[in-house]
Assembly symmetry: C2
Homo-oligomer: 284 residues x 2
Amino acid sequence: MKSSETKIHMGDCLDILKEYPDNYFSLIITSPPYADSRTKTYGGIKPDEYVQWFLPRAKEMFRVLKKDGTFILNIKEKAVNGERHTYVLELIIALRKQGWLWTEEFVWHKKNCFPGKWPNRFRDAWERCLQFNKNKKFSMYQDAVMVPIGDWAKTRLKKLSNTDRKRDESKVGSGFGKNISNWLNREMAYPTNVLHFATECFNRKHSAVFPKALPEWFIKLFTKEHDWILDPFAGSGTTNEISQLMNRNSVGIDILKENYELVKSRTAQYQRRICEEQKQYETN
Amino acid sequence: MKSSETKIHMGDCLDILKEYPDNYFSLIITSPPYADSRTKTYGGIKPDEYVQWFLPRAKEMFRVLKKDGTFILNIKEKAVNGERHTYVLELIIALRKQGWLWTEEFVWHKKNCFPGKWPNRFRDAWERCLQFNKNKKFSMYQDAVMVPIGDWAKTRLKKLSNTDRKRDESKVGSGFGKNISNWLNREMAYPTNVLHFATECFNRKHSAVFPKALPEWFIKLFTKEHDWILDPFAGSGTTNEISQLMNRNSVGIDILKENYELVKSRTAQYQRRICEEQKQYETN
DNA sequence: GTTCCGCATGAATCGATAG
DNA sequence: ACTATCGATTCATGCGGAA
C-alpha cells in the first residue's frame, strides 16, 4: 500500500496556488471564511465585498482543477439587518461568468444544530454545498455512496404482482414507467441531493466547520485513491485529515499561522499512525 | 364560531388582484408554475423569461399584502444542459429591488422525491420555500408550530391509534390536537428552517403540488384565525382547502378553468361539511 | 375496528434521434 | 448548429381494499 501525501501551506491561496500547475486537482472542497466572520482571517470580508474578494481566488482554483474535476463550495449566507444577504447568489452568478458550470446544489441538513430561538426566525439547520464543474462531463463514482434501500422494498419485492413483472406505463401520460422486477435482490439505492450529517461540536478550541462525514462523502463521490484534493481554506484541516485516512493526496492552505500549525500537527499525527498501522500489518 | 370565507377566481392574478385593496392579506403562499412546466398554464414560461414574467405579478402581491404580512414562495430551478438554471437566484435579487425583504429560505425536504438515476446527478429531494416580507417587523406565531422532541415522543406517537389521530386532525386540522399535545407539551421545541414532508400521491384524479402539511405549517406560523390568505396560483387548491379547515379566510386564483372548477368544488364541499358539523355541534 | 398489503403516482433528467 | 420529441431510468408514499 502506497502511503498518501499531504502538503500544508501557510498563506493566501491566491498566492500559494500559483506554485501549482494547471489541471492538477481532482477535487476542490472547502468551507471558506463566511463574510464578516473570522475577522482575523483576510481582514474580515464585508458581505458587499465578498464576491470581489472571492473571484480572483476562484480563478486560480479553476486553473488548477482537472478538466473532469469538481469544486464543492460549502457556504451559507448570514442574516444582515434581518435579511438573508444575497452575496452567495451573486457569487454563483459571477462564478458562472468566470466559466464555471453550476452543476448542482446539495443541501447539508445539520441534524443537531445548537438550540436557540430568535424573535423572527428559527434555527438555521442547513447549508449549501454548491457543486461547480469545468465541463458537463466529470468524474463521479456514484456507486461509492449508495445507501440501503427503504424498508418498503422488503415487503414490496417479496411477491411481484402482474403489473410489477412488466413495464407499467403511468396512466396520466407523465412519461413515467417502471419495471419493478428489475429491482429484485436490490439492497442499495442511490442517495439524493439532501445530506443528513450531524455537526460535531466536541471540539472546544476550534469551532468545527464541517463534520468529517461531509468531506468524506464528497471525496468518495468525486475521487479515487491517490487523486489530489485541495482545500484552499483549510481551517482546522478536516479535509486533509480525511483525505489521508482515505488514501488520497491532499493540499491544505490557510492564512492563519494558528490554523497552519494545527493542520500540520493533525496530519503529521495521522501520517505517523498510518506508518505504525502499516508496520503492525506487515509484522502480522 | 364564525365560519370562514373562501373566494375563488378564474383568471391571471395580475388582473384579478387589481380588484383587491392595499394591505389586505396577512399571508401570500403559493407555488407558481415552474419554468417550462405546466405548458397549459401561462403557456409554459421559458427559464430566461421567468423573472420578467413574475415581476409584475409580484408587484401586485406586494400591494395587497399587509405591512406585517408574509409572502412564501415555493419554487425550485430545473436542470438545463446539465446545469442548474439561475432564474430563481435572479428572481430573489429582482424581488429585493422591487422592495421585498428576503427574510429567510426554508428547505422543504421531499422525503419521497421523484426517482431516477443519471450519470451526473442524484435525485432532487428538496425545494426552496422563500420567505419575503415588506418590513423587518412582521407577525409570526412561533409557538403554533412547536414540535415534539426526543425519540420517546416519536415512538409513543406512532403507537397512537388511527382513530385518535384522525379525530384529532379533523378537529384542528393540524396534526396534533389538544388531548395529545397536552401530554406532549413539556417536551416541545421550536422547529428549524428545514421541513420534512412527503409529497402526497393520490391514487386518482388530481394531485397537489405540495402536501397539505406544507401550507398548513406556514399558515399556523404566520396567521391567526380569520386572517386573509392568498394563493395567486391556486392549482388544485390545497392552500384554500387548508385555510378553510383552519378557519382562515382565503382567496384562490387560477388561470385554468379546469383548476378553477376543481378548487370551487373542493372548497364548497368543505364549506358544506363545516356547516353540518356546526349544526350538529349546536344541537348537542 | 385494526392491521396488512397491493399498487398507482410523481414540478425529473439525460441521451439519442429526428426535423 | 440548434430545437423538439421520445425512451429509459428509478424510490417511497398514502390510499383503499382485503384479511
